[in-house]
C-alpha cells in the first residue's frame, strides 16, 4: 500500500511502485483533470506539482512520491498564483478545446511562483514543454503577463 499527499489529503491506495502518477490519479482515484497526451513527457498535458515544482506525471513513478506534496489542477485554484492564472485565463479567453489547459495552467502557476514577473524568455523557457494543438500560445503569453501584473496586456 502507498500513502500519497494529494491536494492536502492523504490517500492510501494499492498501486505498483513503478506506475506513473498520471494513471494513479486518473484511473485509481478518478481525478480526471490531469490529462494524458503523449506518455513520454513531450507535451505537458499531464503536468502536476510535486512540492510546488512542475513535473510530468506520465513518467513519474508513484513509488518515489510518499511524503511529497502533490498538487493537481483540481486544487491549484486554492494557491494565490493558481487563482490569478485561472482568472487571467478566463479574462483573456485563452481556452479553446481545453484539453491541454490543465497542464498549461500548472506550468504557468509554477512559473509565477518562482518568477513573479516573467519576461518573454522566462515564459518561453517555462511553457515550451506544453503543446497546445489549438494554438492558444498568443493568449497564454498575454494571460501569464496579466496574471503577473494584474494589468490587462
Amino acid at each position: 500500500m502507498l500513502t500519497l499527499q494529494i491536494n492536502g489529503t492523504e490517500q492510501t491506495l494499492d498501486a505498483p511502485a513503478e506506475m506513473p502518477l498520471l494513471w494513479v490519479l486518473r484511473d485509481i482515484l478518478g481525478m480526471t483533470g490531469t490529462k494524458f497526451g503523449c506518455g513520454i513527457a513531450q507535451c505537458g498535458a499531464c503536468t502536476v506539482h510535486i512540492d510546488g515544482k512542475p513535473v510530468r506525471s506520465c513518467v513519474l513513478p508513484v513509488g518515489a512520491l510518499q511524503n511529497r506534496a502533490i498538487t493537481t489542477i483540481e486544487a491549484i485554484g486554492a494557491t494565490p498564483e493558481g487563482a490569478k492564472v485561472q482568472k487571467a485565463w478566463l479574462d483573456l479567453e485563452v481556452v479553446q478545446c481545453g484539453y491541454c489547459q490543465s497542464g498549461q495552467i500548472m506550468s504557468a502557476t509554477a512559473l509565477l511562483a518562482a518568477t513573479p514577473n516573467p519576461d518573454d524568455s522566462d515564459i518561453d523557457a517555462a511553457m515550451a514543454g506544453n503543446i497546445c494543438r489549438c494554438g492558444t500560445y498568443v493568449r497564454i503569453r498575454a494571460a501569464i503577463k496579466q496574471a503577473a501584473s494584474g494589468v490587462k496586456s
Binding site: W23, G33, G39, C97, I105, G135, Y137, V138
Partner: protein, 725 residues
C-alpha cells in the same frame, strides 16, 4: 420551425453549476459524471411539465432555460455561438441558459447542410443560422401570445426582454418560467419576424464562452474522462503494417502481470484489459504478437509519390470550365508549376478513445465525436444490435480537426467490450493514435496559366489526390469529382476569363485518408496562392498589387486584402533574410487576407515574426471567438508547413509521438493580429480558415526572404539555407 416537441433520451440532471467570472450561471449536463462512480443510474426523463416547442429549447416553470446543442464543441466556441443566436431571437437572459449535448438523432439535430448529425467543414453557424433564429423567434412569439392572452391585450402591445414578457401600458410582466406551461398550448406563428442586425443585443458581442470555466479547474469532462462503476481500462495495438491482421498471440508473459484482466484478440488488433491504463500498457508490451502483414508490407513513401505523380499526369474529370482554356493558354506568357502536399496526422491532444458497456441486448457508448449518429449506427453494426439499442453519450472533444469524424475508435472499443462483462474504457496510446490515423491525403496540384497585360488570361488547374468523400459520403463523389477536393479551386476570387479545373482521384496504396482541418481548401489555397506569388514575381509586380488588379468582381476579398496590407505594414522596409508573404482566400464563405512576416536564418531555420489577418466573415456572431479561431488556425497551419509529414516504410508509419511528429511550441509562436471586419452579410465559416491561410502566407514570406520558390511542404530547410533574395 416546429421540429418536434419530444424529449431527448438523455437524462437531464445537471451536475455542474457554477458562477462564472462574468456572473453567468450555467450548467452542463454531463452523463459520464451523472452516471459515474457511486452515482445511481437515472431513468431518462421527459419534457412533460416543461415548454419544449422544438428540439433545441426547453423552458422549465422554474425559469431555467435549457438549450440543446446540435453541433459539438471541440474548442471552436460553437456552443456559445449557438446559445447566443438562440438567446438573441428568444430574448432569453443569456446569463441563465443551461447547455446540453444533443443525443444522436439525425431528424432532430441533423446538420442542415449534410442532413446528418455532423460537425465539420466550418459550417455549424452557416448551416444553422436561419433555423436557430427561427426557433428562437417562434418560441418567443408563443411566450408573448401566452402573456397577451392572460392579460387580454393585443400581443403586439407586449415586448420581451431577458426572459420576461412585459406590457408597458399596464406595467405588468411575466417571466418565461411563469409562462412556460401556458405557452405549451399556443400555436407557433408562421414566419415569426426576426430581428434586424441593429437590434441584436448578444450577436456581435464578445461574450464570455460558456464552456471555459470548467476547462481551467479540471472539471470539464472529455470522452477520455468517462468513469463508470466497475469499469476496466484497455489499450490496443493494431498491426504495424497498415491493413495487416493478427496471426497468433502468445500471451503467457502478459497473463500473470498484476492488474491484467483479459487479453482480447480481434482479427486486426489486440487489446489488453486491466485495472488501469498502466496495467493494460504493461500487458500489451508483454505480448508476443505474430502479424500477417498482408498486401501493404512493402508500401513506402517513394512508391506513394511515384504513383501520385503518374496519376497526376493523366487527364482528370472536369469540375469547372469557363471560356476557352486551350486557346487562352496558347496566348500570352505561359507558366506552369506543380505543388505537393504530404500525408498528415491529426494529433488531437486527446488521444482517440471510447468507453463501451455491452449488455447483450443493448450497448452504451461514451465518447467525444463529431458524428453522433454514425457512432450509433456503426457500433450497432459491429455488435449486431438494432440501432435503437445503442445509446451514445457525447462529451467535449479534446480537439477534433476531422479525426473525430470517424467512428473507428468506438467500433474497436465496442468489439472489445463485447467480450467483457462490464464497461471498458479503451484509450489509444499516442503512438497507436499517430500510426493508425486516417491521414490527410497527399496531393499534387498542377497549374498552368498565361499572363498578358499584367493579368491572368487563362488558368488550368488539376488536383490529384485521394477522395475522402468517396469513402466517407459516397454521394459527394459524383462523376469522378470529389466536391471537397476541388473546394476553393473552382471558385477563385480572381477574375480569369478562361478557367478550367480537373480532378484526378488517386488513392495511396494501403493508406486510409480522412478530413483534416481546412479540408479540401487546405491543399488548393496553398497551391493557388503560392502560384499567384510566382506569377507576380514573373512579371515583377508586387504580390498584393498583382492580386488587387483581378478583384473587380469581389469587393469583399479586395477590402480584406486592402486592410491587411495596411495593418501588416506591407511594403515597409525589412532586414535581410526577412520577408512578408500574403494569402487571400474566399473559402468557407469568409474572405480572409493574411500576411506573415518571417525570417530565414543562415542555416535555413524559419522564424515567425508576425502574422496579420483581416477577416470578413459576414456577421461576426462572437468576434472574440473568431479572433481566437484565426489565431489558433494559423498556428495549426504553419505547424504543418514547418514540420508536418507522415512517411511510410515497409507499410509502417514512421512517426509515432510528439518527438518525431513535431508541433509548434510557444517559444516559436509569433505575435498575431486579427482584424474582424464589420459586415451584415450572413455568417461565414471560420474554424478551418486559419489552417488554410497559414501555409501559403508562410511559403510566400520565405519566397520573399530567400527568392526560393518552394513547391512542396513541409518546408525544406536545405533548399533555403544560406539563400537571400
Amino acid at each position: 420551425m416546429r421540429i418536434a416537441a419530444q424529449s431527448t433520451q438523455v437524462s437531464r440532471r445537471s451536475l455542474l453549476t457554477g458562477a462564472l467570472a462574468g456572473g453567468f450561471l450555467f450548467a452542463f449536463h454531463l452523463p459520464a459524471r451523472a452516471r459515474g462512480v457511486n452515482e445511481p443510474v437515472e431513468p431518462p426523463d421527459s419534457t412533460s411539465g416543461k415548454f419544449a416547442p422544438n428540439a433545441l429549447i426547453r423552458i422549465d416553470p422554474s425559469g431555467s432555460i435549457t438549450l440543446v446543442m446540435p453541433q459539438v464543441e471541440m474548442g471552436q466556441g460553437v456552443y456559445t455561438a449557438i446559445a447566443m443566436i438562440l438567446a438573441e431571437e428568444l430574448d432569453a437572459d443569456f446569463a441563465q441558459v443551461t447547455l446540453e449535448h444533443a443525443p444522436p438523432d439525425d431528424k432532430l439535430y441533423g446538420n442542415p447542410m449534410f442532413g446528418i448529425q455532423v460537425t465539420g467543414n466550418s459550417n455549424s453557424i452557416r448551416s444553422w443560422w436561419p433555423k436557430l433564429r427561427a426557433a428562437g423567434a417562434a418560441t418567443r412569439a408563443m411566450l408573448v401570445q401566452a402573456a397577451a392572452k392572460q392579460w387580454q391585450v393585443d400581443a403586439a402591445s407586449c415586448t420581451a426582454s431577458k426572459s420576461a414578457v412585459a406590457h408597458k401600458e399596464s406595467g405588468r410582466t411575466l417571466t418565461y418560467g411563469e409562462l412556460a406551461l401556458a405557452a405549451n398550448s399556443e400555436t407557433p406563428p408562421k414566419d415569426s419576424p426576426l430581428k434586424q442586425v441593429k437590434e441584436f443585443v448578444y450577436i456581435g458581442q464578445p461574450l464570455k464562452r460558456l464552456d471555459t470555466p470548467d476547462k481551467v479547474n479540471g472539471k470539464a469532462v472529455y470522452g477520455i474522462d468517462a468513469l463508470l462503476p466497475n469499469m476496466k481500462f484497455a489499450t490496443v495495438m493494431a498491426c504495424p503494417v497498415l491493413g495487416g491482421k493478427v496471426r497468433a498471440v502468445d500471451d503467457s508473459a502478459a497473463r500473470g502481470l498484476p492488474g491484467v484482466r483479459k487479453i482480447v484478440v480481434l482479427d486486426d488488433a489486440v487489446a489488453v484489459v486491466g485495472d488501469h491504463m498502466w496495467a493494460a500498457k504493461k500487458g500489451l508490451e508483454a505480448l508476443k504478437i505474430e502479424w500477417d502483414e498482408g498486401a501493404n508490407a512493402s508500401v513506402n513513401s517513394e512508391q506513394i509519390w511515384r504513383d501520385l505523380r503518374a496519376e497526376s499526369a493523366k487527364d482528370g474529370a472536369v469540375a469547372k470550365s469557363d471560356g476557352d482554356v486551350v486557346k487562352g493558354l496558347a496566348t500570352g506568357d505561359r507558366f506552369e508549376a506543380d505543388y505537393e502536399l504530404p500525408l498528415l496526422a491529426h494529433a488531437t491532444m486527446e488521444p482517440i478513445n471510447a468507453t463501451v458497456h455491452f449488455k447483450g441486448d443493448s450497448c452504451e457508448v461514451w465518447t467525444g465525436t463529431q458524428v453522433m449518429t454514425r457512432i450509433q449506427s456503426e457500433v450497432a453494426k459491429a455488435v449486431g444490435l438494432p440501432v435503437d439499442r445503442v445509446t451514445v453519450y457525447n462529451h467535449l472533444l479534446g480537439g477534433g480537426f476531422g479525426r473525430k469524424l470517424e467512428p473507428d475508435m468506438a467500433v474497436t472499443a465496442a468489439r472489445i467490450a463485447r467480450q467483457m462483462d462490464g464497461p471498458v474504457k479503451v484509450v489509444w496510446t499516442r503512438e497507436e493514435d499517430t500510426r493508425h490515423d486516417v491521414y490527410r491525403p497527399a496531393y499534387r496540384d498542377s497549374i498552368a496559366a498565361s499572363l498578358s497585360g499584367g493579368k491572368i488570361q487563362a488558368w488550368k488547374y488539376k488536383v490529384a489526390g485521394s477522395s475522402v468523400m468517396a469513402r466517407w459520403l459516397p454521394p459527394a463523389f459524383h462523376k469522378g469529382i470529389d466536391i471537397d477536393a476541388v473546394d476553393s479551386a473552382v471558385d477563385l476570387p480572381y477574375d480569369i476569363p478562361n478557367f478550367h479545373v480537373e480532378y484526378v482521384r488517386a488513392e495511396p496504396k494501403g493508406v486510409v485518408t480522412g478530413f483534416w482541418r481546412g479540408v479540401g481548401p487546405n491543399n488548393n489555397v496553398f497551391a493557388i496562392e503560392s502560384f499567384m506569388d510566382e506569377l507576380a514575381h514573373r512579371i515583377g509586380k508586387d504580390p498584393i498589387e498583382f492580386r488587387r488588379g483581378m478583384l473587380g468582381k469581389n469587393p469583399r476579398a479586395l477590402a480584406a486584402l486592402n486592410l491587411v496590407a495596411e495593418k501588416s505594414g506591407w511594403g515597409g522596409a525589412l532586414p535581410a533574410r526577412v520577408g512578408r508573404g500574403v494569402c487571400l482566400q474566399p473559402s468557407f464563405a469568409s474572405f480572409i487576407a493574411t500576411v506573415i512576416e518571417a525570417e530565414v536564418d543562415e542555416s535555413g531555420e524559419v522564424h515567425l515574426r508576425r502574422i496579420t489577418s483581416a477577416v470578413d466573415t459576414g456577421i461576426a456572431v462572437n468576434p472574440d471567438t473568431i479572433k481566437a479561431q484565426l489565431e489558433g488556425g494559423l498556428i495549426f497551419g504553419v505547424t504543418a508547413a514547418l514540420y508536418g509529414e507522415i512517411t511510410l516504410d515497409k507499410g509502417r508509419v514512421q512517426q509515432s509521438n510528439f518527438n518525431d511528429y513535431r508541433m509548434l511550441r510557444i517559444d516559436q509562436a509569433p505575435k498575431i493580429d486579427i482584424h474582424v471586419m464589420k459586415s451584415s452579410e450572413p455568417p461565414g465559416g471560420i474554424g478551418e480558415t486559419g489552417a488554410t491561410a497559414g501555409p501559403p502566407a508562410l511559403r510566400n514570406a520565405i519566397y520573399a526572404a530567400t527568392g526560393v520558390a518552394l513547391r512542396r511542404l513541409p518546408i525544406d530547410r536545405k533548399m533555403i539555407a544560406g539563400r537571400k533574395a
